[in-house]
Amino acid sequence: MNRRKNTAAIFAERARVVGQQAFDAGQYVLKLHAPRCAAAAAPGQFIHLRCAADLPLRRPYSILSADAAGGEVEMLYKVVGEGSRRLAACRAGDELDSLGPIGNAFAPSPERPNLLLVGGGVGIPPILFLAARAREDAAANYTPLVLMGSEIPFPFDVTDSSLPFAGVANGTRATMAALERRGIAARLASGRGFAGCYRGHVGGLARQWLDAAPPEQLAATAMFACGPAPMLQDIARIAAQFSLPCQVALEETMACGVGGCAGCSVAVRDDNGGIAMKRVCVDGPVFNARAVFG
């Protein structure tokens, strides 16, 4: 009996920097020409980048968008340490060692076409990627609803929404301009009191929509979230309260990024109620919220 080998689905590429766009508070959108990664990438997956020759460990960045035809992927990141600081210094034409795409992806089901997507801070990119892919999936008839939270200015143009968002107070109208143009309903939350944003945690916004949703709508809804651990815990609790399936994408420090070192393992409940150690890189980063948070 031979165990099936893994399919070689991670590509080592010299990725060329196409450009970077800077936003407030050290946030950047990096566009890379990495055609094999771009062709295969799905929402929830990440790319593992060597940010500088003298920085030994690669950094995982979740993918914001992937354009298979153009061979380009985009990552949204915030400068938090030496790796991201060096990445922010990259200019068009620079080349970076990349490995990707890595990990599993969010898995929406056509049986629950209402996708309540919740992103917080640097957890926003896979949520936007999932919203875009869900909208493009004509066969499944998904309705993505996007909620995003940030305690620093949002890394995109913000505008007032004319798309309805049930349960949310009229004053909460701020949305991402690019989503509004595509007809995807979204709302924003922040404790900072930004104009048009819900004041508080993004989980509070999710709760407003869920409280207002009729039972038949709830039965057609699934939740997907990425963000800091306290936010994910809050979203997991809300999902459990409303008996909704919920998938969360986790972050952890990584070394190899391909499942070899177990450096990114987290404790997850298995199907039998026991504890299993799962690697965020290849067993995740997307997990069932209940398995992670109970």
Binding site: A8, F11, R58, G257, G259, G260
Partner: protein, 318 residues
Amino acid sequence: MAGPMASGHDSRLAVDFCGLRFSTPLVLLSGCVGFGDEYTRVEGFSHADAGAVCLKGTTLAPRTGNDPHRLAETPDGMLNAIGLQNPGVDALLDDILPALDFSETRFIANVSGSTVEEYREIARRLDDSPIDAIEINISCPNVREGGVEFGNYPEPSARVVAACRAVTDKVLITKLSPNQADIADNARRCLEAGSDAFAVINTVAGMAIDAGTRRPVLGNNRGGLSGPAIKPVALLKVWEVHQVCKPHAAPIIGQGGVACGRDAIEFLIAGATAVGIGTGLFYDPLLCPKINREIAEYLDEHGMENVAALSGSLEWNE
């Protein structure tokens, strides 16, 4: 020297390791490549580019390992404190070994324990398995009991080796700790106790501190340092152990921060028969074919017949 075919490699790269033929001197190190199939996710990666693959440390019962964080980047290297997360020896025997492709490379088991009896029992079970060799890990710095508690002192090190020797005819490789006063004395005692070969060195004990929180970065507080930062330490330890091994023709897997062909060549010169690749794979998962090529080029440039001629060729300054 039956074993995996040279798979297209320059036959000058092949080395004899205690009667086992390694098609190249490169050994993928325990703890870096899981249980053998993880890197096959990367397009272009092949086990055949390494002479042997050392599987993750295995204990008698499954272990969940340490709490996060388990990793910290350091200047020219990294600290890890995984804590021997593994599914236990039964899973290794029943699920993992039957699925490995031994036609590609050699596979080495790495055994660890909290007691001498645990080491012995794992070695005994592995004796009747297809594994090519057993590495005795008496130098893991990241578990509370066992590991380096044995490896930092010659007497308990030799006791673990003797216990394993008594129950297996497999090639025994003892992985030595750099965190001890006299690694050569330890190697001498382990040879007497029946070790066939050595892996030199395991990680160097260390700590990273978050000044903001005034706490250690690692969940386990302490960890093991690897990467280019430890290469000079490792080179010296390999040379020291080689002085003990030379009269007995006991081979060494030299390891510690190898990130390019030149690094591997330096370890061979210092006295290693084979060269371990660990943290270097995290930098570049396709590192092995590059190192193989650079070693072959070095042999050409220096008119050397094979890798064996390079091993231990260091000219010590008088």
